[in-house]
Symmetry: C2
Subunit: 244 residues, 2 copies
């Protein structure tokens, strides 16, 4: 068997998310259909993780294996020719036997983009969270820094997805203003369901209300989803990079 590791980019606006679903319009299904054309056999791909409907990727990674060998240049070229124009393959490489895009991922970086100005987004309508109220990016950054480290992140997990082990490790978490945009970057070994979006929604809420770090710490310590803020919308979120 031959093993591949591919990196892809997509605009998640038109899709039901990464993961295949019955009757679904998922990115995984589009890529598998394109691989079928190239390999002439059904290929199952494994993503580094799911992304929800509307979430984008700058560097999603997936792996697959096949009985036939195809050159990496041919894989990239053939898939990019077949795939819809809002899904693109950035690279393909031969991976070691047993490489698994999900289990072998060491950590991931997500980018969350906020458009912060009086007028709503037009060019970036499906690509940013629009906030008309003035957000202090320095304060947002301070509030977010409370969450760096290893904690039980139950407060920042979709209520229906509670598991046994809710401890996760956030390695980096920053907010930075760039003109009308605020870019939030978060790197963690592994994420809970909706974790980035709940962290962003909560931190923005606290920033706007003028709350300080103790309030963020109280929410974290409560281990209760209802203590945190709203889930920021999916269309501001980008899976930026998966590290192996």
């Amino acid at each position: 068997m031959y093993h591949k590791k591919c990196v892809c980019e997509y605009d998640g606006s038109r899709y039901s998310g990464w993961q295949s679903q019955i009757g679904g319009n998922s990115i995984q299904q589009k890529i598998e259909a394109a691989l079928y054309k190239l390999y002439g056999e059904k290929i199952n791909i494994i993503g580094s993780g799911r992304t929800d409907a509307g979430v984008h990727a700058l560097g999603q990674v997936f792996s697959f294996r096949s009985e036939i060998y195809r050159e990496n240049k041919a894989v990239v070229f053939a898939l990019n020719t077949t795939l819809p124009r809002d899904i693109g393959i950035l690279s393909s490489e031969d991976a070691p036997e047993g490489f698994h895009a999900q289990f072998d991922a060491k950590n991931k970086t997500y980018l969350y983009r906020i458009l912060n100005r009086p007028a709503r987004a037009a060019l970036d309508a499906d690509r940013v969270w629009f906030r008309w109220d003035n957000i202090d990016a320095a304060r947002l950054n301070q509030l977010l820094s409370v969450l760096k480290g290893s904690y039980d992140f139950t407060s920042f997990c979709a209520a229906e997805s509670i598991k046994e082990n809710m401890v996760r490790t956030i390695n980096a978490l920053t907010a930075e203003r760039s003109g009308e945009y605020i870019n939030i970057r978060i790197n963690a070994d592994c994420f809970l369901h909706n974790m980035v979006r709940i962290i962003v929604g909560t931190a923005v809420m606290l920033t706007v209300k003028g709350e300080d770090e103790s309030c963020m710490f109280k929410i974290l310590s409560s281990k209760n989803r209802t203590a945190a803020g709203l889930t920021a919308p999916p269309y501001g979120l980008y899976l930026e990079k998966v590290n192996y």
Copy 2:
């Protein structure tokens, strides 16, 4: 009569261009329809200039007059509520009697974005010109600098649009790399039809071929459209700013 000056942003992908056309799906028509809802009367708007199908705007300006007065905040809010989500109003202000968005414009800046990497655009599919071949942005910048100044730009005008006076003044023209992107900015008092796109297409062609400034100057001097290169695609072009 009351006079207004508005600034708007749009993703031109889904539209036939700025200018109203019979049976057309133009940005001007969408804005006039939204104004009709707000004012209860037919309002004609005047854009600073046309943009072609697929061309975007970060700061298109239009003017109009009305018999009824509306607060600027109400104009922005009402239009942004009615307009399709890929057209947005950034600001509205009261303009002096007789203000004319086209005739009063002093100069305009266009941005042209190239995505320069091996893999085609996915997230930016309708927003950049994808070039897989390595483009030297410094050389591109040098070639473009030949065109700064006042010249007869017949070579860089769509052949069907030749007028009596083909002299235009380019005040600024630069190319700059930003990661995988190359941003070309051009400021001129006034533009010929397809001028920016033909300049970009020609300069990229010369850069890739390794030609030098003398070649660009020869094309300019020939005053002949066939001497220049292809017209770069519309979807990389953004009307960035109109100065008054």
